[in-house]
Structure formats: C-alpha cells, structure tokens
Subunit: 116 residues, 2 copies
C-alpha cells in the first residue's frame, strides 16, 4: 500500500467502509470488539483475557464481555489452558476468519474506488 494517502482520502475510505457496514446491517461490532478480534487473528497466540486487557488498556470484564458477545456470534472460541487451568485461551474460528476476510475485501474494494 502506498503512503500517498491524503487526509480527505483517509476519511472517505473510512466513510465508505463504515457506511457499507451500517447499510448491510450485518454484525455491529464496537471499536473495542473489532480491536480485540483483530488482535486475536493478527497477533501471535496464545491470547488470554488478561493479556488482551493489558494490550488494549482496558479492564478484564471488558474483555470477558466482548468474548461473550463475539463467542455468541461464533467469531471466537474459548478454551481452558490445560497447563494452567486459571487461564482461558482465546481461539480463532472459521466464522471469524470468514468475517475478517469479507471485511478486508470491503476495505480493498473501497480503497480501489478511491483511485480509479
């Protein structure tokens, strides 16, 4: 990706992506949720509640609740750490990979429209 991104282009891109998502009426993830989801999918495992809370600079219940919500949508899965049963390991799911794939498709499509 080029660094030739102007202010107006950045905002138009955000606008188009947000607009399309709202219009489609699909999953309405909060900024926190998307940050957590992308961390799980992009950064090296293992991911624990505490680790995510520290990385995002939020309290642990925030992570627990976000995992509840996204787990209910099948975007992530939870599993107890066998080596330390206090820990919960957050894992990716097929559904979550699919969602992010569609999300990046959307961003790429809108970025392409930006410079025809």
């Amino acid at each position: 990706m080029s660094i030739e991104l102007r202010h107006s282009e950045a905002l138009v891109l955000l606008h188009q992506v947000a607009l399309q998502q709202v219009r489609d009426g699909g999953l309405d993830l909060s900024n926190r949720q998307i940050a957590i989801l992308l961390t799980i999918y992009l950064e090296l495992p293992p991911h624990t509640v505490r680790g995510l809370a520290k990385k995002l600079n939020v309290t642990k219940p925030v992570i627990t609740r976000a995992l509840d919500a996204m787990g209910h949508m099948d975007l992530v899965a939870r599993r107890r750490d066998p080596n330390d049963l206090r820990n919960v390991i957050v894992q990716r799911t097929v559904q979550g990979s699919l969602y992010l794939e569609k999300l990046s498709d959307l961003v790429i499509a809108k970025a392409r429209e930006l410079a025809p």
Copy 2:
C-alpha cells in the same frame, strides 16, 4: 492512494487504528456513529434526520439518538430549518472537525508504518 492493498495489509491497518483508539481511551464511537459523523462532514449539506436515516438504512430514532450522543460531545450541532420548521439541520462543529482531523492523522500514520 494506491490500489496495491493486500488483505493482510487492510486488516493490519484496521487493527492498528482500532487498537490505538481503544488504548487512548478517547471517544468510543460506534460504527453507526462514525458513519453518521463522516456523512455529515463529507457529503453535501443540508443533512436532516430523515435524510441520514434513509442514507444509512436505519430508523429515525437511531439517528436522533446518535445526534444526541455526538451533540453532547460537541461533534455535531442541531438547528431547526427556518424554511420548514419540521426539519432539523445537522451542522458541523469545530470540535467535530478536530476529531476527524486527528482520526485521519491516525489512519495516515498507520498506513505509512505499513510500507516503510
């Protein structure tokens, strides 16, 4: 902006932007709110509740509530349309312009980090 944007790059960009916003703990706008805000700032005025609702494919109370929330943060302002007192004209604010300027700064900075 180039169209050379790969899937992983798109997701990393979204990740970095979302992460930074969550960490900073500033305003936590929902996807709907950001869509509304960007529509107000990027598209041609005048903006009415009904017009925004139609454009975003949501109900009017959704817009009213979002304007309540963002109005309280001084990101937008409401004014009665003098030509038709039934209408409400949504207007930009200095605070809102500042917020979007910082947001685009963030996107540009993270995009630049993507291709050093």
